[in-house]
């Protein structure tokens, strides 16, 4: 099989140009989806028949938790691509996505704790879902710490890739924790195969918020990766021209 297309799309310069074009649209889509989804969820969705209005925390908790797991799968995928095809851009993506994933995990854990108090009567309980999410946070912190502690760039990339790939085993544990163990956390309310058991007024704003969080991740990841690509490529002709242009714009 011919893999030249992969290396073409892995070129730092091409990434820099294309991501620069996508970024404003991602940022705009993210802002629009979040404003509509969250205000709809906060003010217009009907209250839950059991939880009343505290269920509105769902509109930030569920998107953050979904995104936190997706980002970790992305980390592992980037680790595999970087290890097999020696693609530097995959390493940049892995290292720059990890802090965003850690923040999303933290948002999911903290909004979950805040939601738990009025609903379960406690901020924290060591059940399987909460514990496996806490392990996800530690995996993210491990990837970040490894990347910063190892000064040799290639060794750091390999170590982060290995940790990302090994840690991905935690993702199915998070997903099925609510089925395998008797958890205080409720099982999933949504599935790809059946219609949601709630009115559209309730799940549509959640769908918008989820899309908004994913666009947010795309925009922030691109912004972070573009700076890192510029740093690593400084000295090459295109990067120096771009840096000169940026310095010109500032003054």
């Amino acid at each position: 099989m011919n893999w030249t297309w992969l290396h073409k799309w892995g070129s730092p310069k091409l990434f820099y140009v294309m991501s620069g074009r996508c970024l404003p649209w991602l940022a705009f889509a993210s802002a629009l989806l979040l404003v509509i989804g969250l205000s709809w969820g906060l003010a217009f969705a009907p209250p839950d028949y059991q939880q009343g209005d505290s269920f509105r925390i769902m509109y930030i908790h569920v998107p953050a938790a979904l995104l936190a797991q997706s980002i970790y799968v992305m980390l592992a995928t980037a680790g595999v691509i970087g290890a097999i095809w020696k693609m530097k851009l995959a390493d940049v993506a892995l290292q720059q996505a990890a802090p965003i994933g850690a923040w999303m995990t933290f948002i999911a854990l903290s909004t979950g704790a805040i939601w738990g108090k009025p609903t379960w009567g406690t901020y924290w309980v060591w059940d399987a879902r909460l514990t496996s999410m806490l392990i996800l946070l530690f995996l993210y912190l491990g990837v970040i710490a490894l990347g910063q502690a190892i000064t040799n760039r290639d060794s750091a990339a390999r170590a982060c890739a290995v940790l990302a790939v090994v840690g991905v085993v935690n993702i199915p544990i998070i997903k099925y924790s609510v089925e395998w163990w008797n958890t205080l956390h409720q099982p999933a309310s949504f599935s790809l195969t059946r219609a949601p058991a709630m009115p559209a007024q309730m799940w549509l704003p959640l769908l918008l918020a989820v899309l908004g969080f994913y666009c947010f991740f795309g925009a922030v990841l691109f912004a972070r990766m573009r700076l890192e690509v510029l740093r690593r490529e400084a000295g090459s002709r295109w990067a120096d021209a771009e840096i000169a242009r940026l310095l010109e714009d500032r003054s």
Binding site: A43, G52, I60, H61, L227, L230, R250
Partner: protein, 59 residues
Amino acid sequence: MIAFASFADFLAMGGHGAYVWGGYGLCLALLALNVVLPLLARRRYLNDLARSRRREALP
């Protein structure tokens, strides 16, 4: 349709106002932090470059 009878009801969130608004406030603050940190890092990088270039340009 708006799910609340008045703005005071909206703020109260059926008695769970502190949890709902606290959760949203924390989440939005952390999202904003994720936007601001890369922008600050970029500005710092360009500032450092500009400073070292000025130093090199001195006679």
